[in-house]
């Protein structure tokens, strides 16, 4: 321990080398798309590529100055995913469509916000002050899509969008972060209370009923999202996030058991009570029956077309720009995983899923390394959220589980998702900076609960 602390290594040069590789992935993909489209290597290509390089290097420089012990692998992974996503979205753009450039604008904005978070906060422990503000923010963000005037109404069956001027935004994506902050703050303060009391049943210690309060609240919030916003994916994501955080806080498997029981019970009731949930389940289980395939909306055509595409891609894929992802509805957002499977093959898709696996593994690594409970909980929650979101998306596209409308982090077209996920990466980088860096002996202002001492 002492040796580790004596020689922390920044590893920023490793990051720089990896970052160049990551940029090569994104720009390489982009140029392959260019080769296979009528507009090969137009001005746009060079302009977009340069912007991505400049933004990535700027991020790298900020880390050198502000968080030099931050994890050196995370930023390159995310830049590679984001670059690949830009190329794929550009590939799906029909003449006259501008989704690719829009995504690039959001990428730059999201990176700028992530840089600002790192620059301004300096240390993640500061965020703990915002525990209850985060709770309030989460509530506001979740209710916004239902407020008349700024609600974008029901889009594709779900009311998760708001409209401000010409822009649409999915506040639920950001609520993922504020909820994680709240849970981390609340649980790190109250974990002792929850831990110490409770009834033992067999090998498991169950919590007191009154300690179940937060769990019930989280469950109700999730059910509320399902009922009012009709968004199954986000509902599962929030509840999964909460279960993991309370499990990590208490180390009690009983919480997971209760949580899973609530998910199964809630899911069963929802499938009975709500047509949109029943349709989701039906179009998953009976995807290949003609009535379900032909049903619109709520049919299985989208998932089945995605499966056809992936099967066509096979082991090595058709090559970028060579497949027919235009047959798959929403190939550049909800179904971007099917697009990767089709054009880059099993090999390409495995590579992408492995990048996610490495990304959340580095996040968990930061959770292990950091010394404060709040940081551990936050890093663990955010990392698990990335993993769970990928699981729900990729599992849905491959028909492992029912398809829901979650976005694929960093890849799918959509500004709110990019912004939220880049902020998450910013937070994880900050936490990894404290985890890997020398022990900080200077007292943190406004963080009275912190009690870190040198040995």
């Amino acid at each position: 321990m002492i040796e580790n602390l004596a020689m922390p290594k920044p590893r920023r040069n490793v990051e720089l080398v990896l970052l160049i590789l990551a940029l090569a992935v994104g720009i390489g993909a982009s140029s392959m798309v260019g080769l296979n489209s009528p507009a090969a290597f137009d001005g746009d290509f060079w302009f977009q590529s340069s912007l991505l390089v400049v933004a990535a290097l700027a991020f790298h420089l900020v880390l050198r100055f502000r968080a030099k012990y931050a994890d050196p692998v995370m930023l390159p992974i995310v830049v590679a995913l984001n670059g690949l996503g830009l190329a794929l979205i550009h590939r799906m753009d029909q003449p006259g469509e501008d989704t690719g450039n829009n995504q690039l604008r959001w990428t730059l904005l999201a990176m700028a916000v992530a840089i600002a978070v790192i620059w301004l906060l300096k240390d993640h422990r500061v965020i703990r002050r915002f525990t209850f503000i985060s709770l309030a923010a989460s509530a506001v963000l979740l209710v916004l899509p239902l407020v008349p005037g700024i609600s974008a109404g029901e889009v594709l069956g779900a009311s998760v969008w708001i409209r401000i001027g010409p822009m649409t935004f999915q506040p639920g994506e950001v609520a993922k972060i504020t909820l994680a902050i709240f849970f981390a703050g609340y649980l790190s303060s109250n974990r002792d209370l929850i831990l110490l009391v409770g009834r033992k049943v067999g090998p498991m210690q169950f919590p007191r009923f009154k300690d179940l309060g937060p769990m019930i609240t989280a469950w109700l919030v999730s059910i509320g999202i399902l009922v009012f916003q009709r968004d199954l994916g986000t509902s599962v994501l929030f509840f999964g996030l909460f279960i993991v955080m309370i499990y990590v806080a208490t180390s009690r498997i009983s919480w997971v058991v209760i949580g899973l029981a609530l998910i199964v019970g809630g899911g069963f009731l929802a499938s009975k009570a709500f047509a949109h949930v029943a349709f989701r389940l039906d179009s998953w289980w009976n995807a290949f029956t003609p009535e379900v395939f032909g049903r619109f909306p709520g049919g299985s055509a989208q998932i089945v077309q995605g499966l056809f595409g992936m099967a066509d891609g096979g082991l090595v894929g058709t090559g970028l720009g060579q497949g027919r992802p235009d047959l798959v509805p929403f190939a550049n957002s909800d179904m971007i995983i099917a697009l990767i499977g089709e054009e880059l093959g099993l090999i390409g898709l495995f590579a992408v899923v492995l990048l996610y696996l490495m990304l959340f593994t580095r996040g968990f690594r930061a959770a292990l390394g950091t010394r404060d409970a709040f940081g551990k909980l936050l890093a663990c929650g955010l990392s698990f959220a990335i993993a769970l979101q990928c699981f729900v998306v990729v599992g849905g596209v491959t028909r492992l589980i029912p398809l829901t409308g979650l976005t694929t982090p960093f890849l799918a077209a959509g500004g709110s998702s990019l912004l939220a996920n880049w902020i998450i990466v910013g937070l994880l980088l900050m936490i990894s900076h404290t985890a890997r860096g020398p022990v900080d002996t200077t007292p943190i202002t406004h963080a009275p609960t912190l009690a870190v001492k040198t040995p």
């Binding site: 009528p38 993991v244 499990y247 990590v248 806080a249 208490t250 180390s251 290949f288 395939f293 089945v304 499966l307 056809f308 595409g309 992936m310 099967a311 066509d312 891609g313 096979g314 082991l315 027919r324 047959l327 499977g341 093959g345 099993l346 898709l349 495995f350 899923v353 996610y356 696996l357 959340f360 593994t361 968990f364 959770a367 292990l368 409970a373 551990k376 663990c380 990392s383 698990f384 993993a387 769970l388 990928c390 699981f391 990729v394 599992g395 491959t398 028909r399 492992l400």
Partner: protein, 485 residues
């Protein structure tokens, strides 16, 4: 706390392990099933825009791929579309393909086994994939003549064959359509055209339900050729047999009776020989034969002429199977023996029957394809005439030919007679309920002693006089056109 963080990480890794399994299943293990799924259009679309081989008649393409736009490199184009629609079918992005476009898809797309080496060289040379071209046995002049002989607005089919080889010389039907409308790359036009064409009754969009190979029609009196062959084959009858010829035959087990045609000359004799019965197309003698021989004998003979067998594979067109039904009661047998009630035949089936009689009782495999050529013009297949089956003995065939010649020279098919040439023929008029309308048939061949051409014509839903005008005289024109070549 670190212990539970590790457990959470393991849970996440376990979820990802499931993902790797699911991806492997979709993209490798289960990929074959997904690729073969009938809803999966990718295989069609994969070569939709390729340079397909042409379908050629008389040295000129009737279907070919011409350069298309940016998004789709080649566009399928049909010249004389209505004239050949029943043979080429269409090649559509949304509605699949029919006709030769469908049945010869491997050759036309260049994916047949014989073209394997061509594909390999295309890969190495980086050239565009190119399909084989198919030349047909169709004679364009006869095809055009036959098509024009069916008046616009009249539903009917004409099949012209060479009985010695089985080659199809012409095969037309009306109403027809323009396959270009469905082969267009514009999805909106494609859909509108398809839906509109589907509304037209009798249109030959699908060869297995309409047109020469698909329309199942009551054959009427042309079926008497089957009765005659069955009778001679049984040994109970010979060319001099005397057949009962009452004006009306009471149907056993029924209060109804089967009459001879009231307007004809049958009533002048109460008994008849085969020659007279065929010349005047009397009903009661053939009904008597069927009741005497039993339905098995008639059904067996029908089957020897090809009833109950699918010519689709041989002709490379979708087709319907002609039926002589089983389990008939005596009344139904008597009526079916004169080509009414439950017996149904396609125009192609009647043509095949006539071909067998013309060719000394030997039925040849029907053939529409003359040559299949690789893109470098090398011949990769050239079907030779093939014997399909023996329908009757040569003696019986010769005897029936003799009587059929009398039908044209002395009997009711005199409209088909050509001065100086012996023409063998048989007409049929199948009544369609009590409407007064009929399916009017002619089937025959010429010259009778050395058959070069057989013609089968059917005009649907016509009165007796229109039917007579549109069948035998038109057959004569086709005989003359082929023989004078």
């Amino acid at each position: 706390m670190n212990h539970s963080i590790r457990n959470s990480w393991m849970a996440a890794v376990a979820m990802f392990a499931l993902l790797f399994g699911a991806i492997s299943y979709v993209q490798v293990i289960g990929a074959g099933d997904l690729n073969d799924n009938p809803w999966n259009q990718r295989a069609v679309l994969a070569n939709y825009c390729n340079d397909r081989g042409a379908i050629i008649v008389g040295g000129k393409p009737i279907a070919e791929s011409v350069p298309g736009d940016e998004s789709c490199k080649f566009q399928r184009q049909y010249s004389q579309p209505e004239l050949y629609a029943g043979i080429t079918g269409y090649f559509s992005r949304s509605y699949g393909s029919t006709g030769l476009e469908q049945q010869l898809r491997d050759e036309l797309a260049g994916s047949s086994d014989q073209l394997f080496l061509d594909r390999v060289s295309q890969i190495f040379l980086g050239s565009q994939p190119k399909g084989a071209s198919v030349e047909l046995t169709i004679d364009p002049a006869i095809q055009k003549l036959a098509y024009d002989l069916i008046p616009d607005g009249q539903q009917g089919s004409i099949v012209v064959t060479n009985p010695k080889t089985g080659a199809i010389i012409a095969m037309v039907s009306k109403p027809s359509y323009d396959p270009n409308l469905i082969a267009t790359h514009d999805p909106a036009k494609e859909k509108a055209s398809y839906e509109q064409l589907n509304q037209v009754p009798g249109i030959n969009l699908n060869q297995s339900v309409s047109g020469p190979t698909g329309a199942l029609l009551a054959p009427g009196s042309v079926f008497k050729l089957v009765d005659t062959a069955a009778a001679l084959n049984s040994g109970k009858y010979n060319k001099d047999s005397v057949l009962p010829n009452p004006d009306s035959l009471p149907l056993p087990g029924s209060s109804a009776s089967l009459p001879n045609y009231a307007g004809g000359n049958c009533s002048v004799r109460s008994t008849a020989d085969f020659a007279f019965a065929l010349e005047q197309s009397c009903n009661t003698p053939f009904a008597s034969i069927a009741l005497d021989l039993g339905q098995k004998a008639i059904a067996d003979q029908a089957s020897k002429f090809g009833f109950g067998q699918d010519f689709g594979d041989q002709l490379k067109l979708q087709s319907a199977v002609s039926v002589f039904p089983t389990n008939l009661d005596q009344a139904a047998l008597a009526q079916s023996a004169v080509g009414q009630r439950d017996v149904k035949a396609t125009p192609l089936q009647i043509a095949m029957m006539t071909d067998a009689i013309a060719n000394n009782g030997v039925q040849m495999k029907p053939e529409l394809i003359k040559t299949v050529r690789a893109p470098d013009l090398r011949v990769i297949s050239e079907p030779k005439p093939e014997t399909l089956r023996t329908s009757t003995s040569p003696d019986i065939a010769k005897q029936i030919t003799e009587w059929m010649t009398d039908v044209v020279s002395k009997g009711i098919a005199s409209g088909a007679a050509i001065p100086g040439v012996d023409v063998a023929g048989k007409t049929g008029t199948a009544q369609l309920g009590d409407s007064g309308l009929n399916n009017s048939w002619f089937t025959g061949f010429a010259p009778a002693n050395d058959p070069q051409v057989a013609v089968t014509i059917v005009m649907q839903n016509v009165d007796v006089f229109t039917g007579a005008k549109l069948t035998s005289p038109n057959a004569k024109k086709i005989f003359e056109a082929v023989l004078n070549k």
